[in-house]
Symmetry: D4
């Protein structure tokens, strides 16, 4: 039994740098998480067990990232009814368009919420997990509102710098 | 103040047939919802107000569907910290690939959970909203598990029919 | 225990018309087969069991066809070391390019031999299964050579008709 | 109240190098402009206010550049009836095709004039703004004609160099 | 010498139905226009003369629509310094993506403001021409503002109908 | 007469680095092979003779890799009834999507089993050849099962390292 | 020994309707031709012999049309040094983009002159063959000039009709 | 009046390195040529005059290369009835797919023979021009046959080196 709220899965250790962006977003909001390497193709039993046991272990959301024929998110979603957020990763020569289509085009019945390709998507996957958890934790919603103000402030600072520069 | 849990938005009344698939999924799980036509481009103030007031009105999740340069989900996400599920719709000549990219490729900071293009995506958007709400409603999680069994049964029935047919 | 040589799987009964092209090719060469509907997403346990038991049941080749985020072939390949032939099917709005990428772009370690999208691909999947079985059945190789002659004859007949027509 | 004629907006400070090409074109024709960083997603209120007030502040044209799910131009166009020129920027892994589709595929009613991806597009956005302003300033039209002669001269010089080189 | 304000060109009479959407938008705002069929490839001299003489004939804006390797807008832009709005049309098997790229990806120096593919784009081309002319005609700006209110009203009516229907 | 089991062909010596991944997979399973450079376009007679004589020389499977308008696999398949595994290679500016389509989209009658683009595909081509040969060599099937366990162990090691690292 | 000038090849009788557009263009200029169905994949020997003997039979140009993994033009070009004009045909679900890439992306050394997809391309293939033959037949060049005048006249007629209609 | 046989045009001096591949192929066959920089957009009159006068100046074939919205080949073809070979060049972020579509998708009536993107295409453009000229110069046909033998020899040498290496 975990007390962690989010389970982050990735298909390969080469995905770690990107998927740590999801972890970074969760840490910012002090959301606990576990992170595992588990390939839908090379370790299907591991993925199946992690997905099947996720709800009873107490996780609220699963984030999964994979590249190429990115089956990880769909396979995870097939084995759990928790919300699954899929992160398509760019590897190989199609810039992640293969992973995007393989993650987002799920058949009716088994949903995956897909974010953008690569690092921006991974970070947003973390934020979306926070937003999901915030549906039942009101202080978290307040923190999300504060974060949005930070975003505004950063843009305003950069715009102010641009104005000085002109 | 609403007591509805999900807000469904669509950019045009021509999107209604498809977006009703989201409503259908919610009804199956007895999740209450409101549904509005609100275009990010033609009625930006309406979209802004709907998105900004969504949390205080009590909605837990927003589902938004649009076609072409599908800005609706991103604009909604810009004005709320609720989880936003985007449904790319196929209209015009690119089969929805324009709407998919315009929905899924959000910059870091403002997440949208994107589902597949068109009707399968719309239905899954409803299911994903249910899964999100189920993170804090355990009977709903049980219903989701039952639904998965129904899916299995339907496939098994069709496979059995195929076996008889051979 | 089956005495069938090929296992044909498809993700949905809506794929049946196309996947019967694979069956048609096998019948032409009198190769026995079983055919099942089994969805990687809706019936993951069924797919897993079918794939895991395929070798011991005596199958020599698995043909699997699916559309959209077509994970079926990859999931099957993850659970068997038999040769897996994937058939990407066109459903939804991307003409099967989603299914093609989701089938062909497998990570190193778990191979899928992918054929073309839709009916031509399904028929070729059947022929490729025959060619694989023919690696250890020499009469089958002779039949394949005869089939090629038939193809030549058909083209020659059509060309002759065209010459008469001019 | 500004006396500037063109408002240049960009979604992020990382877009500055490219968007300065638009500024460069304006400077060449001595067209005054203001330039701001304003994200449609992170600072929606800022974008809204900039767009809504643009006409009364005296701007004649708005140029806006953004990458990925590039909603900036569409959101600006939704809040103003001034001509909006959108510049799709290449960031992330799709070479700007996401930004192109998200900028150009506007629904009927809210036009955006989209230019090419990246630096060539940004420079052309500046020139198109000049051409628009020149519809009511005849000396500017004369300057544009001179500029075209410069372009001819530059090509002729390069061609002459090539002839000498052969 | 014309007193017309907009010149609409199209590459083929088969483009007429779509390009009349541009005319429709202009008529709504009582903007006078001429409309010609002129192919960049089959009638290059005609296109050249129409473009070269457009400014002196008094046109303020040129709208040009073409399909496939859509060179019309670029060729027109090469022969005039008036603002050129390009409308990519879908003909043949690529859904207009060929025409889009051939219209939007202009090299630096010769700008084309490209709108969306097909009818929505053609209508928006008319509106963008109105917006350009409105930069020096303030009553026209007022009419554009009214038009936006109409758009809002239409969406509100449709939303109200949807509410009654639920 | 060879006693080799697999024939590896590639269209150019520049493909060698990638195609050696196929050889590497075969070596791991102690499957003998020959490897030749033979271009479908520059040396069509060589390709034809290699393909036509492959079965009588004792090869069981042909692996062929080519880039751009990758005709090699299709031409080989046209001249043999052995199973042909095509490897699309990325050269030039389309990241291998040209080679993928030119390899996978075979017309009905002449099958090619296509793997992913580039190195992962080449390695999988080797593994797929092993799987094909294993349909009649049971010890090879056992080795394939062992290999899968190795894959699991490697992922588990990497996951364990990640757990220590956190 | 033929006295025909152009050899038209197509991969399948289903390509006949489109490829007759090439014949139509040749007939208009009274260029003699032969037309054959010959599949690069199903009848490789036929294609090889037709291509290898084409020059000695007196043909000056070869036009070849095929769909999907369209290898016909490349295979023909591999067996002849006559100019080969390739026509990519749209069959299956990718609208001919597969055939386009498989026809146009030839490796250095073996050129194919590719025209547009489908009927417009097939007609242009005929015209390009005429232009090639006209490099050594001056009356043919005069006829081509006349044909261009016809094209102008047709556009002018249609434009005149449009003017009357307005 | 020139005695040169081929006219090579390119849209920009930045295209020179690639377009010299066409010159290289012509030099190998001792075919005389002129080479000019002439932009369809920046120097439309120059392109028009070069194209219109090409036949009377004695050129037999025109090769033209351009990137992005590559109108050069189509504009040249519009002003001449000589055979035009188009070379799509990769510049900007779409890897030349924009230039490919803008070059190959010509409307019926005005043919362009398009070769592959970039250097391989440019070289093949030169070879195709040689093949066209060879339709009326039999010694050139013999040289082309010799060149093909060279290609075979080179591949054989590389294959022999590979055999020694194994």
């Amino acid at each position: 039994m975990t007390t962690k709220k989010v389970l982050i899965l990735m298909g390969s250790d080469s995905d770690l740098t990107i998927m740590q962006k999801a972890a970074e977003a969760l840490k910012k909001f002090e959301i606990s998480f576990d992170m595992h390497i588990a390939s839908a193709h090379r370790t299907p039993e591991k993925v199946r067990l992690l997905a099947k046991s996720a709800r009873e272990k107490g996780y609220l959301v699963i984030i999964s990232g994979a590249g190429m024929a990115a089956h990880l998110s769909g396979v995870v979603a097939a084995h759990t009814t928790l919300p699954v957020i899929g992160v398509p990763l760019a590897s190989g020569s199609f810039g992640g368009s293969d992973a995007l289509l393989a993650t987002v085009q799920m058949p009716p019945g088994i949903p995956v919420g897909c974010v953008g390709v690569g690092a921006p998507g991974a970070y947003n996957a973390g934020l979306l997990a926070v937003a999901i958890i915030a549906t039942s934790e009101s202080q978290l919603a307040a923190k999300l509102a504060d974060y949005r103000k930070e975003l505004v402030d950063k843009v305003e600072e950069k715009d102010a710098a641009l104005q000085r520069q002109q």
